[in-house]
Amino acid sequence: MRSISLCLLYAALVAACTSSSQNDDRLVIDEASLLNTAQRARVALFHGLLLSDFDIDYRVVTSKETDDIDRYAVTRFAELGTGTSSTTSRGLLLVIDPVQDRVRLEVGYALEGTYPDAFVAYVEQRQMVPFFKAGRVADGILATTELIVSRAQDATKNAGLDSEVQLDGSGGAGATTAARLGAGNDTVYTDIEVSGGRSPAETLKKYFEAMQQRNANPSLDIYTPATQRMMKDWVMTPAQMDNVVNSYRRCHAESARYDTRRRYAVIRYPVSERQCSPWFFETVDGTWALDLTMMQRAIRFGRDNSWHFERGANHPYNFAFDDWAFDASGFPRE
């Protein structure tokens, strides 16, 4: 009996793996071999979630033979039946050609209102290409998916996604950009110095101002030395900086909370504002600096951008959350 159960379990696992692999092959067609197996699976996983959460069928094709990438994208969109996995015909197709060094995101008719050409050009140029320049193709694709998800969330809130026409195919909407694959990070940082604030709130204000000016300089005094070291290896895109400013504009910060020795501080937001994650500060030479290293270690984001704590992560900022309860996954509760 036990052996039969094991056989059935094995068969189910094989079927699940085969199905998953087929799903990966359908969502990610890497003809130009730009991604490894793990990266393909990761992209397919996130794009599968996009389909289940927002009914958006988002495919990725890499090819060395696009010739005219604009025409290729329209033709391939139809050939692959992009949008057919969606019940509302919502389809997106990302085409990357390393030979022509071009990237195009083709938008189906059913999503033209949600993702206008200007937005597509923006995410390509301001989010995807910076990662491509650093040779991080999979990260560039996923970072773009993040903005696509964010846009879909906003559209869902405003009923924009559901009001779209349900029409199969694409008519050439989207944008094409120079991919600049492996061109290297040529970001020129602004020479505007930003010093640490005398209070956590002042430092946070300076940080938002720097983001608004798209000042990606990792050596600013508003960061702790550990954060500065970590950020040197980061790809900080203009779109990410814009996103920080825009997403926190709607958040209502509470007063800063300090530890007993006033070495650490936290600015947090009401639990109901689930997409506004807290900020950690540490004193450095008499001013308050952002401790992004600890934030990165302790805070995670769910599919709907709600923040939660990484269970078991060790950091010195727990004092600020003594009055909150957390569920098994680390999501705060009032």
Binding site: D70, R71, V74, P116, A121, G172, A173, G174, A175
Partner: protein
């Protein structure tokens, strides 16, 4: 009556004789009318027989004869597993006449409707092309406004000769773009929807659209000299929209030409060509450069 003294014996004898004769006459008359009736029935029967004979004759003639009706033969009414059966010949004759009339009619309707569908596809695809041309036409004023605002701002801050010369180049490129757009709008305005019937007009419109594309490229090339303008989000947004519209126009043009090719081939093929000529289905023009302009280089831009 003789006993009552009303009639004499002589009179009574005359009356009896008269009555006897009347009775014989009546009987004869009854017999005669009965014979007449029989004669009528016979006549009707003969007429009916004749009518049936005529009908049978016509049926035989029209249906190549009816096979003599054998007494009921049960074996003959059983299905023959290997046989295909034989239809009643008179019915098959009528069916043949009906098919001779109805099938061509159905074929004519099908071919006509198929041509109508293909022609409608051509009109629909042209509407897509026009809609995208209008979309681009609507974007150009926004581009003009953005650049003009930038130039005004720059003229207030920069007064060097080099800057003024650059501004003149940018302004000239913009003016050429506006002129090309106007020329294209004029062609569409002149011809209206009939433009798809006219090769020369459609080629002229195509040339005008090509000019807009060239002027656009030329304008963007000049704008490269203005990093501040080029990097502004508003300009990037407009540029993305213009490039997106350009691509939509290309896709719509490609689909329009495909639908025209499909339609033009259909109206030339037999037997649809007969219906096309009778139904007034004319050839449609392709939205592409004519042979002359393909060969002639555009000297205005390098």
């Amino acid at each position: 009556m003789q006993d009552d003294g009303i009639l004499t014996a002589e009179q009574a004898a005359l009356l009896k004789d008269s009555l006897d004769r009347q009775s014989v006459h009546d009987q004869a008359e009854i017999r005669g009318s009965s014979r007449k009736a029989r004669n009528n029935v016979a006549r009707w029967a003969i007429a009916l027989l004749l009518a049936v004979s005529v009908v049978v004759f016509f049926v035989l003639v029209s249906g190549s004869g009816v096979e003599p009706q054998a007494p009921q033969d049960v074996a003959a009414t059983l299905n023959d597993p290997g046989g295909t059966g034989q239809m009643n010949k008179s019915f098959s004759g009528i069916l043949a006449i009906a098919l001779f009339l109805i099938v061509p009619l159905l074929l004519w309707m099908w071919l006509h409707n198929s041509l109508v569908t293909k022609e409608e596809t051509v009109f629909e695809s042209w509407a897509q092309v026009e809609s995208n041309l209008e979309r681009r036409a609507d974007l150009i004023p926004a581009l003009v406004e953005t650049v003009s605002r930038y130039l005004r701002h720059e003229s207030e801050t920069l007064t060097t000769v080099t800057a003024q010369r650059s501004d003149a180049n940018l302004e000239a490129a913009l003016n050429e773009l506006i002129a090309a757009q106007k020329s294209s709008a004029d062609i569409i305005g002149e011809d209206g929807p009939d433009i798809v019937e006219n090769d020369a007009d459609l080629a002229r419109l195509f040339a005008a659209q090509q000019r807009i594309g060239q002027r656009m490229q030329s304008f963007l090339a000049v704008a490269e000299n203005y990093p501040e303008l080029r990097s502004s989000d508003q300009f990037l947004e407009l540029q993305a929209q213009l490039e997106g519209t350009e691509n939509r126009i290309n896709v719509a043009r490609m689909r329009f030409n495909e639908s025209v090719g499909d339609y033009n081939a259909a109206i030339r093929r037999l037997p649809a060509s007969l219906i096309a000529s009778a139904g007034g289905f004319g050839r449609k023009a392709y939205f592409q450069a004519d042979a002359e302009s393909q060969e002639a280089p555009d000297l205005a831009f390098d």
